[in-house]
């Protein structure tokens, strides 16, 4: 067994720890691991080139950028915030837990790329979350605003990850089925997909509880801040 290609993994870990440019780290790690495996330069370049081209679907999201950029220039985020501010009773927790549920259900039906960070989180869900969090407490501080946005993005990820595996034709299910098939174990895709349900339910429950806890902590801190301000004014 040749253990030298593991140097590539070490390069990734060290590079990320040193906070170098991630693209450079990754390219370097690939080159190191290939050279350590004794691959010659021609094979290495061909491997890099074909794998890069084969993975180009991952950059499709840039097609949304002109639309989103233009709408933002014309006030989409401001409008989204005002719209949510109009619903008196929609709290941050209700907004995000509903989004989590919808995202999971859509992913279960294979509609994975319908929502996402570029498509829905940046233009709609993040500004709506900020507006819902600001309700009754005035503007958010910079740090609180960043936390609310991060939670919105996290909610999208959790909803997507723990919904998609329930979808029959999803890559993960087919990957699992294909792996066993090659080893002579025949499984129906449905059997694999159904076993993803317990985890999907647990993911919804755990993340929903965390969203509620986040909202409560935010309210408590902002309540204290507001009380301190009133006390200052009284002095």
């Amino acid at each position: 067994m040749n253990y030298w290609p593991l140097l590539g993994v070490a390069a990734v870990v060290i590079g990320f720890a040193l906070k170098r440019n991630p693209v450079l780290i990754v390219v370097a790690a690939g080159v190191i691991s290939a050279l350590a495996a004794g691959m010659d330069l021609g094979d290495l370049l061909a491997l890099l080139g074909t794998s890069f081209v084969s993975n180009r679907a991952l950059l499709l999201f840039v097609l949304t950028l002109p639309v989103i950029g233009l709408l933002e220039r014309y006030g989409l985020r401001e409008r989204a915030q005002r719209w949510i501010a109009g619903f008196r009773r929609l709290s941050l927790a209700r907004l995000l837990v509903s989004y989590l549920g919808v995202r999971q259900l859509l992913s279960m039906f294979g509609l994975i790329d319908l929502a996402g960070h570029a498509q829905t989180v940046r233009p709609l869900i993040a500004p709506m979350s900020e507006a819902a969090a600001e309700r009754g407490g005035g503007a958010l501080g910079d740090e609180e605003r960043a936390k609310v946005r991060a939670l919105a993005a996290a909610t999208d990820n959790v909803g997507r990850f723990f919904g998609e595996d329930v979808f029959l034709a999803f890559g993960a299910v087919l990957l699992i089925q294909g792996f066993y098939e090659r080893q002579g174990i025949h499984l129906e895709p449905l059997a694999i997909a159904l076993w993803a349900l317990p985890t999907a339910l647990a993911a919804f429950a755990i993340h929903a509880v965390r969203i509620h806890l986040f909202q409560r902590a935010l309210e408590r801190r902002r309540g204290r801040g507001a009380a301190a301000q009133t006390a200052d004014a009284a002095d």
Partner: protein, 323 residues
Amino acid sequence: MLRIEHVYWLVGALLLVGAGFNLRDRRWLAAAFWFVLALPFLLGERVLGMSAAGVRWPAQAMGLGVIALGLLAGRATAAPRATSPAAAAVRGARARRLGNRLFAPALTIPLGTLALVLCAPWLRWGEAALIDPAQPTLVALGLACLAALAAALRTTRATPPQALQEGRRLLDTLGSAALLPMILATLGSVFAATGVGDALASLVDAAIPTDSRLACLLAFAFGMALFSVIMGNAFAAFPVMMAGIGLPLLVVRHGAEPAVLGSIGMLTGYCGTLLTPMAANFNVVPAVLLELPDPYGVIRAQLPTALALFAVNLMLLWLLAFR
């Protein structure tokens, strides 16, 4: 018939526009970055085709391009321009004037994708399907983006060059983070081809007492999560851990149910994916998109959910796989 390749050409054209804008601003290295990145989209099918036919130089040239992208990546990102209070006031006024009409183009992207996917079997041009049945969602996404752009131009009465300029602004802000998902997936293929997975699996095998069912299960679950953290992808981790531990030790020796082990094992890997900057499109790109000061802000927000869910998955595996 509209194929995914046509959507790729559109992406390539947009990246070329980004290169052109940077050229005009005399940011030469950034222009070179976006130009090189446009190539796999404009020529990708041909490169793969020639490679399959045994002509290796186009793929090798693309490999050189990947290395060039790595070297140029540090220069591709532009600092987001600070918005002046005046610009913010203009945006607020426009938002009030346009009102809820602003939502329609934004919602056209997801809803248009959905409608096209659902209608795809009936959309025909004579004998041929209008949308390639092999990749309906991604083709539909491309079409929906075009429809949304048309709707946005109509609503805002802006001109197409303005839209391109705005797209370029976001592209420059994302910079090399936009490329990260693609380059990481490439690394996954390189690691697989160089035997990194096999080497790691053999290290794990040497370290655990294989007689204990629990020890094997723990090694499998932690291995899935850890591998997903390293590779940024549970898909890359799955074949390695299954071949190393899952199949020979858990299924064959200890009699675990294959469907349960595969399904929940994969989801255990997903818990690792929530924790790693290697899964850039989920964990790093949104931090940049949302202009978070901390590049690991999204990962921090996911950490408690991922750890709790990992524990739940371990319990589920223990209870369900060995019935």
